[in-house]
Symmetry: D2
Subunit: 316 residues, 4 copies
Amino acid sequence: MTTYGYLGPEGTFAEAALLSSLGARDGVASLPPDVQLRPYAGVAAAIAGVRAGEVSASMVPVENSVEGAVAQTLDELASGAPLTVIGEAVLPVTFSLVAGPGTTLADVRRVGTHPHAEAQTRQWFAKNLPGVAVTSTTSTAAAAAGIADGSAQWDAAICAPFAAAVYGLAVLAEGVGDNPSAETRFVLVSGPTAPPSASGADKTSLVLYIGKDHPGALLEILTEFAVRGINLTRIESRPTGGGIGDYFFSIDAEGHIDDQRVGEALMGLRRVCAEVRFLGSFPRVDGVRPTLRRGVSDAEYHEAQAWLSRVREGRA
Amino acid sequence: MTTYGYLGPEGTFAEAALLSSLGARDGVASLPPDVQLRPYAGVAAAIAGVRAGEVSASMVPVENSVEGAVAQTLDELASGAPLTVIGEAVLPVTFSLVAGPGTTLADVRRVGTHPHAEAQTRQWFAKNLPGVAVTSTTSTAAAAAGIADGSAQWDAAICAPFAAAVYGLAVLAEGVGDNPSAETRFVLVSGPTAPPSASGADKTSLVLYIGKDHPGALLEILTEFAVRGINLTRIESRPTGGGIGDYFFSIDAEGHIDDQRVGEALMGLRRVCAEVRFLGSFPRVDGVRPTLRRGVSDAEYHEAQAWLSRVREGRA
Amino acid sequence: MTTYGYLGPEGTFAEAALLSSLGARDGVASLPPDVQLRPYAGVAAAIAGVRAGEVSASMVPVENSVEGAVAQTLDELASGAPLTVIGEAVLPVTFSLVAGPGTTLADVRRVGTHPHAEAQTRQWFAKNLPGVAVTSTTSTAAAAAGIADGSAQWDAAICAPFAAAVYGLAVLAEGVGDNPSAETRFVLVSGPTAPPSASGADKTSLVLYIGKDHPGALLEILTEFAVRGINLTRIESRPTGGGIGDYFFSIDAEGHIDDQRVGEALMGLRRVCAEVRFLGSFPRVDGVRPTLRRGVSDAEYHEAQAWLSRVREGRA
Amino acid sequence: MTTYGYLGPEGTFAEAALLSSLGARDGVASLPPDVQLRPYAGVAAAIAGVRAGEVSASMVPVENSVEGAVAQTLDELASGAPLTVIGEAVLPVTFSLVAGPGTTLADVRRVGTHPHAEAQTRQWFAKNLPGVAVTSTTSTAAAAAGIADGSAQWDAAICAPFAAAVYGLAVLAEGVGDNPSAETRFVLVSGPTAPPSASGADKTSLVLYIGKDHPGALLEILTEFAVRGINLTRIESRPTGGGIGDYFFSIDAEGHIDDQRVGEALMGLRRVCAEVRFLGSFPRVDGVRPTLRRGVSDAEYHEAQAWLSRVREGRA
């Protein structure tokens, strides 16, 4: 039996991302019999569950195209017992307005939802349900769950379409998000493990600590990537806790640690940074392969290595 | 009469930062008679108050050494009607546990506070008041205010020491924060205005938008600073809302827009970025002057400019 | 009356380059009546003639695609009283074997020529006139002149085709150069003067002195150009005379000193180099216009300058 | 028997450099019995002798602190059958004025010497023997040899002090060079061989060909060195023969090919250059060890390599 955790409760975008990642197109029912899921009440708990061995891996959000990075996820990965990112998922963030049986749009006086969802649906409500009151919940799914179990003090919930089915609620309106291109990226976090083999369309996740008082350090770091033709897809600065101005960087780079250029860049970072934490290499969910400039393919690295061996021995 | 706004309610760290910035060492009472303060219920409201002309400027938090950037502040500054950062303040984040008259530490079963403060005091409570329950409030000051006005469903509040005095509460414990070096940086935001004169120890705040699909753009941006010997003190990436992977950068650089090297760098950024928003040049609260490498002082810029004029006219 | 000097004697490639530069397609006879030419015995003399005011400008070779830089030209320009490069010319280096009336190819036992020409025709002679002896002359034209005036101790001269006409000699063989793509670049050097107006297809010539013991200085110099999108067409290191390892750089860059990007780069070099000598901006003889990347055109510089002025005054 | 070649004839600075390199402090007489020397008439011949197997290695000049690079040496090394630079020598260039027995300074009407020596003694003669005529010889030693064997048409020779002893001539004046700090660097060139072991104070010699029409290529090359903390001690551009603007670079870098940072840089150059010719790693004659910045020592490379292996296997 393999158990996967996720940022719960049931019906969250994280659960949908996990099911998508596991290939379960028709929801929990379509999971293999030896796989089960476990919701956690927060990002920290979902990651702690991995460290405690309760679950093989947990799916947690890492960035949202409207709200930005999920700081707690970045910080949990950056310190404490080592973890490995073994996969990613990206979901469009579409919101539905859902309610119990018999409730109509005209009945809605108060809605429950997570503050992030409230922020992303504000324009829709201003136009379609002006004057509606909002109660904050710990997740969008919790707002739906409250209606399902009768504990809610709100008439309707703003949540993922997926949650309506999970909780058996009626959909009053679909697509109530203000930004139709909004999406959230999730990562699947396991305990320490060797990365999966390179797929040719991979990302590598890193945490880089720079010593204090080193003004050119970020430029130095970026140059280690650039000189080997490696693009970054994400860079976030986060405080180390040591005071204003003391940061670490959370980075996603194109490529796999087994790629020669990525391995060489990682060694370079290891040498110039105060600390490098390798978080994993995993297939990109979008399948995009990097466009390599001249001189950075594995074949060119191997040829150069063979040449160096020859010239070192006087056999050039 | 000049009115300043801040992230309220009364008793917040933001109010303390504003008073410090206005030189009012003994609190509101020591303000000049023609100055008054106005608390706002949130960062967005405090900034909207500036845009609406309700206040001359508002003091809002921009980063915390434990929690990181205050995303809402960055995003409010980055779009909408232009604003200018005219000052900064940095406060140590020290928490007190406060309660109404007659309450002792042994009586405390439930505390009220903001989730960020809860996260930063968790270890203290685990050790000193294990098993205490927590109610989330919209600010640490709101938790104190609730006790003061009798509406609180909690026995004690975790808040700024400053708030105890504001609300006339008793201090049950001081220094309950887990990280004694924690601090928060605030910025004082006004409407569009020319920057104050250069003090010699200044910062310049910028928002930089890069066009999509431009992998080397961050390196290009950092090079525009580095080639002119300008250090960065802060860099944050924030989503533009256009989808995962589409970022803008919020940057603080050493120096003043009237410094020649900073002006030249800004022109360079203006030419290579999709959009540059200048947020302001203001004196550093720590008074640190930049260490200039050879060739980047104003004197050297002026000499080079005069030389260029001569050689362009054949008078070298 | 305007007098131009050149590396003589009559019949050199330098004279041909000067005539080409003056638009005299049919040789000296087609010069305007108020223009006259003056040959000098060497590069140093031709340049000294400019400094002494004997001639308005002198045409001297600066680099050859087979032999490389003409060190004496670079060094004469790099120190001493200021000079200005006001134009360039590039000539294919084609050699003819010429002799006096009645001499046939079979009669040739010894040829006279300049050592550079000897080096560039060695394969032709090995194949076509094996065993021929060579006498070194101070120029290829001098070898031809010697035959014309009867003073030569050689039967034939290797020289420019142009010299055959100048000295009225018979051409025994044309195209006797081993490298059909060989060419020499010349510069027209005048006294100090303002550069001609930008043509849109210009080069700028510079001499850069770096302080000693500055290992990254060349990278720093190249970055000053690169950050403003300026390509170099030539870079030569030359000794300063201060000892092994102490160099200056002779550089040609694309663009005109009146181009904003070039002016800004020059100011940057002025600030970081021990010394910058501006030698001139002049139209490229090949008329090639630079391919500008985004952000470096004059229009973009002017727009950025106007923007900077606005934001400095709070009018962004 | 081991035979070494040098740029002759006997008495040249190159012979002195070779003797110095072989540890023969008292000249040829102090060489071991199984070592003999062979002068060649030119740089090309001395190098051809190595390729032909006539000598084990030849000592030839490569740069002079006044005249600059010896183009012929650079070009001979850059193409043709592979050669290896196995050592270097640097000699101060001090000139003596020498003559046959009975000649006094007042008798000297005409001196013989190589044009380079003439250029470097011009001021001395202008001051001390104004009006003296000069005959060019193929080397300074040849001028001395001509006096010794009676074939000279000059009264005295300007040559190395060493040559006076070789040819048994009288020294009329010492130190007649205008630049007392002038020096020449020589390289000892052998056939293909593995480099000597790293001494800790080494140089590595390279020839780099860049593809045509690649404006940023030099910056790219310098970055390959800089990112690994490697300084260059010499860089020369030379024409490839393909036309004006088509160059290769002759480079000396600090360090030994067996140093990890140098090996990695060479592989990087191999991947981005059209062609890399490794000419050798050899001990610096001045014994200067490189000042290494953080992260580029062999120990740091090995630690990073071991770390990479661990994280690739999931054992970080």
